[in-house]
């Protein structure tokens, strides 16, 4: 059986063989409701194989895993900085030795999760997506996630899942890690809409909605995965 989104993606990729390789083009928007105001951020992505282009406001980041490099582009100064891209799965850091100077400040909740795959569905980008509700309880925090999992094309949208979680600005590692683990357990899915409600230990309630806007396979603008011609390399910040 060929699910419609898979088929269209397959044909799009196939047809583009003689042209510049097709890329995934997506926009992502995050609405963060906190202290009676909503802060909206948006980003545009182009993803092709090991190459990723991200534009947030005026900031552009190009990740070239094929070269092991990441460039941060500053269009206003016509300059860029370069740093090495960390590998996909870096070795887990050795357990840091406890330092009494910093104990008790940085609280990272360790959530115990209850996950419910519901029967609720909605159509996003022509795909039937299913709602999973996850509730996390930690000693000094609680969170509820509403994750809309949709059928996906593996090759491109797996990267989109990664960037979506990174883009979302989720405050706690435990939440971002949980979403990543859910995506890993569901390799054929894309996360196109995520809602987070978190009661942090001290600060007021936080609500966040992250959704994918544009989602298409198309030929990328020429040179989008390269440093624009004429840009000067600037020293990277330490």
């Amino acid at each position: 059986m060929c699910l419609l989104p898979f088929c269209s993606l397959f044909f799009a990729l196939f047809q583009s063989a003689a042209q510049p390789p097709a890329a995934l083009h997506a926009t992502v928007r995050s609405d963060f409701l906190y202290l009676a105001s909503t802060r909206t951020t948006a980003a545009e992505y182009w993803i092709s194989g090991d190459k990723l282009y991200e534009k947030r406001g005026e900031q552009i980041r190009i990740e070239r895993r094929d070269l092991g490099l990441t460039w941060l582009i500053d269009p206003q100064k016509s300059s860029y900085t370069e740093r090495k891209t960390p590998p996909d799965s870096p070795a887990p850091p050795a357990a840091a030795q406890e330092d009494v100077h910093t104990l008790g400040f940085d609280y990272q909740p360790e959530f115990v999760w209850e996950v419910k795959d519901t029967a609720e569905t909605q159509v996003l980008h022509g795909r039937t997506c299913r709602l999973t509700v996850a509730t996390g309880i930690a000693e000094f925090a609680e969170t509820t996630l509403r994750l809309w999992f949709c059928p996906a094309a593996r090759e491109h949208e797996r990267r989109l899942n990664d960037v979506l979680v990174g883009f979302s600005g989720i405050r706690y590692r435990g939440i971002a890690g949980f979403v990543a683990s859910q995506l890993k357990q569901r390799p054929d899915t894309a996360l196109l809409l995520m809602e987070e409600t978190t009661e942090p230990p001290i600060a007021p309630l936080m609500k966040r909605k992250v959704q994918v806007g544009t989602l298409e396979i198309t030929a990328p603008p020429p040179g989008i995965f390269d440093v624009p011609p004429g840009y000067q390399k600037a020293p990277a910040r330490p």
């Binding site: 906190y34 105001s37 100077h101 609280y107 609680e142 230990p201």
Partner: protein, 518 residues
């Protein structure tokens, strides 16, 4: 004690019926009058406190009360739950109130508030807008353990000085190109504690010294102690955070101090009257308040824990001494030198080869051995308490007071011992009891910690012997909560107007949802 009671049923009925909101309770009205008087005080002093400080009317205020009432003053775009308070303004600023979450808890004067600038709502441009947020709480008849110097007295002038302090924070953000370093998050070791106290003593000696040459020697002592402390105990980031806090909090305290000095020189005509506010005396005796600052410096210096709390007094006294001996320091720290201690170093210009001699002087002319012994004992006890708490394993009970807005350390009285690491207050010999309004936790003899301000955490090491983690009497509600709850566990008994119980793995989390019966 004066009491202002708000009738909850009346409020809810009025709100539900879309009727005009009820009148503001008298303690709130009094506070708004104080805010008006604060602006008049600032009209008189602000330019003398810091050149260019004239934007203090710009920032809206958000007043937050323990009964859930919120009052917003001068906000250009109040969130929808805030209703305009008719016929009431602070100067020309509109006043709005949010009655939607008001509980029957009475507002009992005297009240005291602290807080700071936060983003709240959005301005006309849609961007988050900064307001001065003040959380009011009842002044305890007896000081709690968390407020060692808190007096049950609540003078209007004290509250106005808090407003001035917070408004000065807003002004700091207008200073050119200030880099942000964040607050110091640091637990002292013995070296830090010793040399930090020497810093404070040196500042005190410099303040009391009238001879400029001798005073500057004490300032060199301060810098020598700082060099030694930082070289052995802090990384560059932490050093910058410490100096950043001293600028932020220190100059805000300095703005209070300078306000009082300027008022002491005379010429200010109060407009708020004793009839309107019986706790206000028109700053007729500024010395009464000024005396507290050197007292606080001395007390703070001797403290082993909580280095950040020292930034208020240490920064303030560095600023006061700069005023005395280094004119023009304000424009310098608002620009190139950035930190007050860096400015002191630039002005004193101690030759590099002088420092060993000055450091030697610290050991000879200050009670070094006594200080070292005291802090060594305190830090060993703190670290032992941490190790003992960390070694406990079993079923975890967390009592969560966040919904009530109650800081746990502020509701504990009489705990035999308490030690602090970061946001953890450790009670190795138990807490005794937690009490506020109609909430009571008793029987707390097991080692415990108050963590992240709102949570009390205990571990039942014998949990395998227990049949059940708790028993609960109360009236179940459709939303899964329990009213008039009495919860009994092997480690404590909790009585509260409303609770919710969450269980996950070995964690039993009890959320206290109300301070008083609804």
């Amino acid at each position: 004690m004066r009491t202002a009671l708000i009738s909850l049923p009346l409020l809810l009925v009025a709100a539900a019926a879309g009727q005009p909101a009820p009148r503001l309770p008298q303690p709130v009205v009094t506070e708004l009058k104080r805010l008006e008087e604060t602006y008049r005080v600032l009209d008189f002093v602000a330019q003398k406190v810091w050149p260019g400080w004239n934007t203090y009317r710009k920032t809206p205020f958000l007043l937050d009360y323990e009964n859930g009432l919120r009052v917003l003053i001068g906000h250009p775009n109040p969130p929808p739950q805030f209703q305009a308070v008719p016929d009431f303004k602070v100067e020309d600023k509109a006043v709005f109130a949010d009655w939607t979450a008001v509980t029957p808890k009475p507002l009992l004067a005297p009240l005291r508030a602290d807080g700071g600038p936060i983003p709240f709502g959005a301005g006309p441009d849609g961007h988050p807008l900064e307001v001065v947020h003040m959380s009011f709480r009842s002044v305890p008849s007896k000081p709690s353990e968390s407020a060692e110097s808190e007096s049950p007295e609540a003078l209007a002038e004290d509250q106005m000085l808090v407003y001035i302090h917070e408004l000065f924070h807003c002004f700091q953000r207008e200073l050119p190109a200030r880099r942000m370093y964040g607050n110091l998050q640091y637990n002292p070791d013995v070296t830090y504690a010793v040399y930090s106290e020497l810093e404070g003593l040196a500042l005190e000696r410099a303040y009391l010294e009238t001879d400029a040459a001798k005073g500057k020697q004490f300032l060199a002592d301060f810098l020598a102690a700082r060099r030694r402390k930082r070289a052995s105990s802090m990384n560059t980031f932490e050093q910058n955070q410490e100096s950043f806090d001293e600028f932020n909090e220190g100059t805000a305290v300095y703005s209070e101090f300078r306000t009082l000095e300027i008022l002491k020189a005379g010429g200010f005509a109060p407009k708020l009257t004793a009839t309107q506010d019986s706790d206000y005396h028109g700053f007729s005796d500024p010395d009464r308040f000024l005396r507290r600052y050197p007292d606080r410096l001395k007390r703070t210096a001797a403290r082993t824990e909580d280095p950040r709390s020292k930034s208020y007094e240490y920064g303030c006294f560095q600023a006061i001494l700069c005023d005395r001996w280094f004119p023009g320091w304000q424009s310098s720290v608002a620009g190139a030198t950035e930190f007050i201690d860096r400015e002191l170093g630039r002005r004193l210009a101690v030759p590099e080869d002088e420092w060993p001699r000055i450091e030697q002087r610290l050991q000879q002319t200050y009670p070094f051995a006594e200080i070292q012994k005291r802090h060594t004992t305190a830090i060993e006890a703190r670290d032992n308490a941490y190790r003992a708490l960390k070694a406990r394993a079993g079923r975890v009970y967390v009592i969560d007071f966040k919904k009530t807005g109650q800081y746990v350390p502020g509701a504990i009285a009489g705990a035999p011992k308490v030690y602090r690491l970061g946001l953890i207050n450790m009670y190795p010999e138990g807490v005794g009891a937690v009490k506020f309004d109609e909430v009571e936790v008793t029987g707390l003899t097991a080692p415990a910690e108050a963590n992240q301000l709102y949570y009390l955490r205990l571990i039942d090491t014998d949990w395998r012997q227990r049949e059940k983690p708790y028993t609960l009497d109360g009236t179940p509600q459709p939303d899964g909560t329990f009213k008039n709850a009495v919860l009994r566990t092997p480690l404590f008994t909790l009585k509260a107007p409303r609770v919710r119980i969450l269980q996950a793995g070995d964690l039993v989390k009890i959320q206290v949802l109300a301070r008083v019966k609804e």
